[in-house]
């Protein structure tokens, strides 16, 4: 019976993830697209980056699921910390986009500070994993609508493991929608394309920053 309820729970989560995947795609797309476009092209690089991103996103999901279950209830609309959480996550996302996708602050000019790796021979250094991890985790805990729906259901489950399992399968359902992002690996990288991707990252950072600050001000003003 317990096995049946667990598999039913997993099935429900998977279907929920698949059904709400396009919303997840729209929600995470603005972060994933510029990040992927600043990477070198090639499906292998993109697969690795996407895997890291999704792993970190899963970690965010599970951390949130555990927190929800521990709290024992969903985050209601009237929860006073909601604006703080929203605002803080968005601000962190803005900073992460600026640092990782846009590449600011840039390294100091090599000529100003000569070092042994001034002359680079061979292939360029591989992309930083920490960027995909940070962006994935922050989008994981960003409270997008499908995530909140899943949170409601996860909080109703009897055990922590069931709650985590629910989010795991929900994640699997949504993650399938991310596979088309691998096609960005086929796009030929030109300096212009990378510059455009960095500009998009800055614009998105401004947008998340504005949203974050608005949320924090709203919290400060209205409590």
């Amino acid at each position: 019976m317990a096995a049946f309820s667990l598999s039913a729970c997993a099935g429900e989560a998977l279907v929920l993830g698949l059904a709400t995947g396009p919303v997840c795609l729209a929600s995470c797309g603005p972060v994933v697209v510029p990040w992927m476009l600043v990477q070198p092209n090639g499906v292998r690089v993109h697969s690795r980056q996407l895997l890291l991103f999704l792993t970190a996103r899963l970690a965010g999901y599970l951390a949130f699921a555990a927190a929800l279950w521990l709290v024992g209830s969903t985050i209601p609309r009237s929860w006073p910390g909601r604006s703080w959480l929203f605002g803080s996550v968005q601000l962190l996302l803005a900073i992460a986009l600026v640092v990782y996708a846009a590449g600011f602050p840039r390294r100091r000019c090599a000529l100003a500070k000569p070092s042994t790796d001034l002359v680079q021979i061979g292939e360029a250094s591989p992309p930083r994993s920490s960027g995909a991890l940070a962006l994935g985790f922050l989008t994981g805990i960003n409270l997008c609508p499908p995530f909140l729906v899943a949170g409601v259901r996860a909080a109703q489950l009897a055990t922590l493991s069931a709650s985590l399992l629910f989010f795991l399968f929900f994640f699997a359902g949504t993650a399938l929608w991310f596979v088309p992002f691998l096609s960005l690996g086929f796009v030929r990288r030109t300096p212009a394309l990378v510059t455009v991707a960095r500009m998009v990252a800055v614009l998105l950072a401004c947008w998340y920053g504005f949203s974050g600050i608005t949320n924090l001000i709203e919290r400060a003003l209205y409590g």
Binding site: P22, L25, L203, W207
Partner: protein
């Protein structure tokens, strides 16, 4: 046929009067055809506006034929369109609702006139959610003839014929900044444009991607809600809280900076060249469009006069060396007119470069001017009619 001179202040004789008139006849007939409904059904003011528009458009086309210059005469039409469009549009708004702001009730009832600028924002939500994220009706209604289907249909017809020349012959926003760019005698900030132009022309692509992604997330046309400079001179959401006040502030700042101040200082169309996401989207259609500007390398002396003249920084040294313009060329004809060596030429894809370029120009101009007359001409006629309505002795 006389060689084209680049002296823009004294138009040379390029064709005889008789030949120029003959070449203008199709446009004159087309103009009459376009305005036939105005003569049959409209009131006195609109009839006067229609006559003015027919004469204006036909005269400009005649001058294009007579002088061989494109840019100067096109600019007169385009600036008139840019400055007169808000007059007619605001007049109709004020007459209809008493304000330029859009009431929420009109948004809810789907009566907001559709603007082609939104088109790229609609794509992702329409593809994934089968939803049009614009508060307008898809088919025309009595209260909103400028519906989504009508405007997208018009835009698509234009785009197939003109490619990105839409931005130089049809967009009723671009004329405003082209007007401000025409005022000063000499350009300032030239070094700034030379130094940063190559990066700045990538900004519209970034804004396009941002707008498309943002619209998919928020399920609202982000460009319209937050970034459109032309809201200042058309219509905007009513200011009723801090958010709408910030939006309105952004509109005014962008308009003042990109449409007025920077064009005045640089003599460039800075909003079109360095900001407009719809322009970037439109650039993609240059790939499939038949007409383009090419450079005859045998004649080109690399004087870079075309590069400095181009109003949207759509030329680079590399592209000229390759004999091409960049993807964001709006086919305004400035480079062709200014070239002293006749190295910049109109070109029909699939034909040899610089062989009978005037024929390619004619073919392009017939299409462009016919559509400009149909679309811009009717806007001009309406605006003239609105202005006559303002006259105290009407």
């Amino acid at each position: 046929m006389a060689s084209r001179s680049s002296n823009l202040t004294h138009p040379p004789v390029f064709r005889g009067v008789g030949r120029s008139i003959l070449l203008t006849v199709p446009i004159a007939l087309w103009s009459l055809l376009m305005f036939t409904p105005a003569f049959q059904h409209a009131g006195r003011n609109l009839r006067i506006g229609a006559v003015a528009a027919i004469l204006f458009m036909t005269a400009l086309f005649f001058l294009m034929m007579r002088t061989g210059e494109t840019y100067r005469w096109r600019r007169i039409f385009f600036v008139a369109l840019g400055f007169l469009f808000p007059v007619g549009f605001i007049a109709s708004l004020v007459a209809e609702r008493g304000t330029m702001s859009i009431p929420i009730s009109r948004m809810v009832s789907g009566d907001t006139p559709f603007c082609f600028m939104v088109t790229p924002s609609l794509l992702v939500p329409a593809a994934f959610a089968r939803t049009i994220i614009f508060p307008g009706s898809i088919l025309p209604t009595a209260s909103n003839p400028h519906s989504i289907a009508v405007m997208i249909g018009l835009w698509f017809a234009f785009t197939l014929v003109l490619g990105k020349a839409w931005c130089s012959y049809a967009c009723f926003f671009g004329g405003i900044e082209e007007g401000f760019a025409a005022f000063p005698k000499r350009r300032r900030l030239h070094k700034f444009i030379t130094r940063w132009g190559s990066r700045l022309r990538l900004v519209p692509w970034a804004i396009l991607l941002f707008v498309v992604l943002g619209s998919a997330v928020l399920f609202e046309p982000v460009y319209c809600m937050w970034l459109c400079p032309f809201k200042t001179v058309t219509e905007f959401p009513a200011v009723r809280n801090v958010e709408t006040a910030i939006q309105f502030g952004v509109f005014i700042a962008l308009f003042a900076g990109l449409v007025v101040a920077l064009p005045f200082l640089t003599k460039k169309r800075t909003q079109c060249g360095f900001f407009c996401p719809f322009g970037a989207f439109q650039s993609l259609f240059n790939k499939i469009n038949l007409f383009e500007i090419r450079f005859d390398r045998a004649k080109c002396v690399d004087c870079t006069l075309c590069q400095t003249t181009c109003p949207t920084v759509a030329l680079s040294s590399e592209s000229i060396r390759e004999g091409k313009t960049l993807l964001n060329c709006m086919k305004c004809g400035a480079c062709v007119d200014v070239c002293k060596k006749d190295a910049a030429v109109w070109h029909l894809k699939g034909t040899p470069v610089a062989v009978k370029p005037e024929r390619a120009r004619l073919l392009f101009l017939y299409g462009a001017w016919a559509l400009a007359t149909m679309f811009g001409g009717s806007i001009l006629a309406n605006s003239v009619a609105a202005m006559i309505g303002f006259l105290p002795w009407k």
